[in-house]
Symmetry: C2
Subunit: 371 residues, 2 copies
């Protein structure tokens, strides 16, 4: 018997399990075959993950009697585009998979978002399984069914809701993840504490070193994060309300990602989120919603783990405050012209603020702009 | 007061109305505005429909206080591809429409399928309204939420289920439709009779001339067809069962469309369906499921209205029977390798036949092949 931690995502007839533990890639065939007997699989992965882990997954599937083909894409955010979507769709159709067969996302959030979207549109929806290999994907993007690609007009503007049938978070594959990527994923872990779990945030302040080094604290942090996300998703599957809380740090974060033209050398998603969360707390303090001490506490923790926490931490020049504001206005969390932000009253007390005045945002960006 | 006929599609929280009557294009703003107050619109149309009717629609929207932009695509099946999908998506994003705004499909089934797909994926699902302008689109493709594009591997293999909020079937715009296209749409009208409404089929045998010429019989035929389709869709929104009945004539039909490489000069969709329905009845007779008299009755009616009813009616050479069979096997109604067909026990007595032996299909195709 293995001792995977199991988190259930309660979505009625679309409910599914997240299994968390070491070695799940090698046991994927058994876990998938138990839930989807008789399927064939198309694995979608990227060059980094493919090189290091694809063979183990293929053998793991074969051991469970699951025949598979695979498609390997270039690594990185730029792969979340229309051309790659079409490539995955064509590969799945070329493998002659049917609706009941399965597309497996094997990689970070880029691969998960892209191949989940493909699985959602081939034959108007095929079975889909997530095997997330980055920390960010394990605690965030693989859970909840949001899939998509980027457009010239902004990130994640095109996609579908398509829930997986199963998520396998192998905590051991994280050992090959570059530390910078691990840190970026950790930003999303901290986010759950900052949204509405102050004790979890305090636990992370004490235990983050063990989360980074591996072992039970890592599994615990991932499981807590998945539970937090699953709770929000179960309350609001299609993001018409509460789910927006998950965007804490993302309005600023996405604008910064856009401002560096999604250049991962300068800023990866989780780093943008880290800076965004620090800014959201600082902005809340400026609006007299939260204490400056809370903002300082968030900044200190991000700094301690080695994450960027202010715009000045991004290498190279940034566009000016006005330009940043226009990136924010283009972002998808603009509802009928009014700016919507996730703000906070303190650690673990985030809320959705609608109608945040543009002038306040602009003034704040000017104050905090490094240039 | 206008006297539009209303058909309700009973899909719970996704329920919507189909309004049928003359002049609805000019009244679109009022009907949409009543249901979706305050929206902005992106109209998607093709060159033929755009030239003749776009101004009326724009004015109709404006009269209802709805601002709109429009995108005009080349007419024809070839437009249902990835490039056009991306073009529509980009245009909708460029117009800065939000989730609550509306994409309007204004054209035949090609425009409906393509722009419904775009509406389903921009921001993971925007509001969508169908204003079908071909008979086929009014009685079939605009109802039921199936959207999609073609792939090199087959028709309609990529898409989503995305229900419209409203369907406006303006029976007067059909007057500019080429007769050949009207006939092609009529094949789908006859289909509803052949599936499970024998009295409707008998009514059509008597009244088809009035349906073609316009007036109350046309409205009646469209309303009956929409009711028939809405019933099936309400029973099986995501095509996991009964909905397959709507594919009567489509397995053969799609194979023939593929066999002529979707060349509309040789065969349009509804014509393929006409031949496919005749073949499905003839094949059922060959399998001793139905009487040859019923097959003859179907053939006679299709012939009377001027539709093609046998492979020999397709201009030019067709691939041989083996090649046609491989087109059938590629079609999406293949479930785990077994051939699924819609067969019949007589007029209005269709049923889903699974595990139809490939050898029978091949023998039948050879017998009926014109070459
Ligand atoms: N769908 C959602 O709900 C959601 C939520 C959050 C983020 N996202 C998306 O997720 C993406 C970011 O995810 P990400 O940070 O995982 O990016 P990513 O997929 O680009 O992975 C980061 C890098 O790590 C590499 N990598 C992944 N696993 C590895 C492993 N085990 N060993 C070695 N290298 C490995 C990848 O090749 C890549 O170079 C963004 O596109 C973001 O929009 C989606
Ligand atoms: N989604 C579904 O459930 C469903 C069901 C059946 C068919 N379909 C799809 O529908 C498509 C066929 O639809 P179609 O036959 O409407 O094809 P179409 O959209 O190509 O229209 C046929 C022709 O008629 C022209 N036209 C349309 N309305 C006109 C008008 N009022 N005046 C003048 N010209 C007009 C068009 O420009 C085109 O040239 C196929 O792609 C098929 O796969 C979808
Ligand atoms: Zn994120
Ligand atoms: Zn059809």
């Amino acid at each position: 018997m293995n001792e995977d931690v199991k988190v259930e995502v309660g979505l009625g007839e679309r409910a599914y399990d997240i299994l968390i533990g070491p070695g799940l890639v090698g046991r994927a065939g058994a876990e998938i075959g138990r839930r989807l007997p008789g399927v064939r699989a198309a694995i979608v992965t990227d060059e980094n993950v493919g090189k290091q882990h694809l063979e183990v997954l293929k053998q793991g599937l074969e051991a469970g009697g699951i025949a598979s083909s695979s498609i390997v894409l270039p690594a990185g955010e730029k792969t979340k585009n229309f051309a790659a979507l079409q490539e995955v769709v064509d590969a799945v159709l070329a493998a002659r998979l049917e609706r009941g067969d399965v597309v497996i996302a094997f990689g970070g959030g880029v691969i998960g978002d892209l191949s989940g979207f493909a699985a959602g549109i081939v034959r108007r929806g095929m079975n889909f399984v997530q095997i997330p290999t980055s920390l960010l994907a394990q605690v965030d993007s693989s859970v909840g069914g949001k899939t998509g690609i980027n457009s010239a007009r902004g990130k994640n503007l095109v996609g579908v809701f398509h829930q997986p049938k199963l998520v396998l978070a192998d905590t051991a594959v994280l050992d090959t993840l570059p530390v910078r990527e691990f840190r970026a994923g950790y930003a999303e872990v901290a986010k759950y504490g900052l949204i509405d779990r102050p004790e979890f945030f305090a636990w992370l302040e004490k235990n983050w070193r063990e989360v980074f080094s591996g072992g039970p604290a890592r599994i615990e942090a991932i499981a807590q994060s998945c539970r937090a996300k699953a709770d929000v998703v179960a309350r609001d599957e299609f993001e018409t309300g509460d789910r927006a809380l998950l965007n804490l740090g993302h309005t600023f974060g996405h604008a910064l990602e856009a401002a560096v033209a999604y250049d991962g050398a300068r800023l990866v998603h989780g780093e943008g989120v880290a800076i965004g969360m620090a800014l959201a707390h600082r902005f809340s303090a400026r609006l007299n919603l939260a204490s400056p001490d809370d903002a300082a506490r968030v900044e200190a923790h991000l700094k301690a783990v080695g994450l960027p926490w202010r715009m000045a931490d991004i290498p190279g020049d940034l566009p000016d405050a006005e330009a940043l504001l226009s990136f924010i206005a283009q972002d998808k969390k603009v509802s009928r012209g009014a700016l919507t932000f996730i703000l906070t009253r303190g650690i673990g007390q985030s809320f959705i603020a609608r109608d945040v005045p543009t002038s306040e945002v602009l003034a704040f960006l000017k104050e905090n702009h490094p240039g």
